[in-house]
Assembly symmetry: C2
Homo-oligomer: 336 residues x 2
Amino acid sequence: MANLKQLAQSLGLSITTVSRALDGYDDVSAATRKRVREAAEKVGYRPNASARRLRKQRAELVAVTLPSDPGHIGPPHFLDMLSSCAEHLASAGLNLVIAPVPRGESELDICRRFVDGQRVDAMLLVRTRRKDERVEFLQSRGIPFVTNGRTESLVPHPYIDGDGFAGFHAATVRFQVAGHRRIGHVAGPQEYYFAHVRRTGWKAAMDEAGLNADLCAEGAPTEQGGYLAALELLRQPSRPTALVCSTDEMAIGALRALREIDGGNAISIVGHDDLPTGAFTSPSLSTMRMTGENLGASFASLLLRAIAGEPAEELQELHAIEFIDRDSHRRPMKAA
Amino acid sequence: MANLKQLAQSLGLSITTVSRALDGYDDVSAATRKRVREAAEKVGYRPNASARRLRKQRAELVAVTLPSDPGHIGPPHFLDMLSSCAEHLASAGLNLVIAPVPRGESELDICRRFVDGQRVDAMLLVRTRRKDERVEFLQSRGIPFVTNGRTESLVPHPYIDGDGFAGFHAATVRFQVAGHRRIGHVAGPQEYYFAHVRRTGWKAAMDEAGLNADLCAEGAPTEQGGYLAALELLRQPSRPTALVCSTDEMAIGALRALREIDGGNAISIVGHDDLPTGAFTSPSLSTMRMTGENLGASFASLLLRAIAGEPAEELQELHAIEFIDRDSHRRPMKAA
DNA sequence: AGGATTTGCCAAAACGTTTTGGGAGTCAAG
DNA sequence: CTTGACTCCCAAAACGTTTTGGCAAATCCT
């Protein structure tokens, strides 16, 4: 309730001195500083946020855009991640606002609103596209941002991403080593960077092994999308014996397709994301996930460093992918 | 980039007129209004948020506190709910900031920081306790808020809640009707309102049927908590034949306990929340959930109406509970 | 003692809006 | 011609901070 003016008046000091005392400047005597701080503590004074923001020309806010498409929010522990990110930002005086995209508006509109109204000091972007207009816009405005996922932008920007290429390459090679030759890929929408790079990893492994990389079907990054794409692959004349799926959600859909087609026992499958549900499917879903703990803290750190002006090249994290082996990736193979 | 002053200058008008033209006051001529609006559009002018907030004495922000305890975030589609809430708030010019509770600080500290710094116009509280200090604080400060879950506060406050009593009462009666007599309850921490009221519903149904309500074990609202509590009940001399669990997470833990004890086939079980994973457990988990669609929109609406000053009594929503029947609630009963 | 430096404080400006309280000019009625 | 009403615009104040630039008084040096 109290403001600086009242506090100053009650102490018989000027606004300036009280402000500087609270901020710990040393051009106010130790005695006064102590006196001011005690008084502030007693009345529970906290500076008015809007006033400080206006004066300091900083919004003390970071926005994260939440896509509202189906299959929208990728990672499983996304809210935990946001929460942790918000927590770390908070200790630097920044708050995290969530900015969902209303239907009829583009994510770009949202960015524009936040940036041009000077509502935020930085932005956090998730679910990047290969060619991402949000990235281009923010770069043109020179406002700091970090993405979850890379893009094909020519000018580098800060990001955190999993090494989808290596992960899907390795997963495919594992199947090859296990004797599979017809390995299919249930792909996500190729406009998304993550989906594209995962497909590329699968394809490279097939090419290197001299195998046919034509068993690939694309679908929405949802259970239903995975179901339909898997069905398409299973209807091929020479059916795949193993399926590498772009996401766990899609993999769960693929499991449903398998159940319908052949009881689901003959075809091996692997997903990506380590969705909690995967532990409960039957067969339980083998999967992969990005390594690294407390991603939220990493995002917060990158954001703060981006705001501080560190160059983008130093703010890029590419994390290795690790396997979570359960049952679905090693089904008994039918003789060829 | 542009501000009102520059815009006014370029138009040869005063700041006042430009401001009022943009706000649609009718004391500026239609012609000028049009001219101003077009110019504003062209340069992409957006009022500086901090300045407007300072002047209007409104933060244009709503905070939601995120508890970071284990078993923290209750509902399954919580992020979807927040996202939808944020979207609806946004169309009223409010943004939603997420306020996780750092370790070492209480949720009350967080509320205090946001309220006393005048950072928010309202707050959204989740996971209420029977006696909730956050509620008391916000009431004493007179700042609008809505809770997800009731409390035992003597002075009424806006909330949205499921009718846990009726739901758990009905679930228990269903078991009774199916012939069960030893119906246990896997309870969440009784300091939480939801956990308390659910237990009360179970107990009332047992009492009314003249059955012994002593098969009750309490645990953390997590998979592990449910596992331990169920184990405790299963070790009783007269073991329950059915289990009503406070949450799906706990129910899943209880399923694990059942599997360890007797293969999990003899005991019926029901949870609450409709966790997506429940569809994949074995047996698949029967559960309940609060009815009502687009809760996010409801929260947003209550928040806006609370800010507008509507009395708390008119801002309370108690939603019925509906059953989602899968397999776990009707296991073949052993003969008694 | 006289100048230079340091210490402790403060008045005023600035951040960019919105709102208050008019003030010219026009027009119609008396 | 005066009066009143109406239209369209504006100067200035206010919101509560932080920061700039400076001013007395006290302290230090020779």
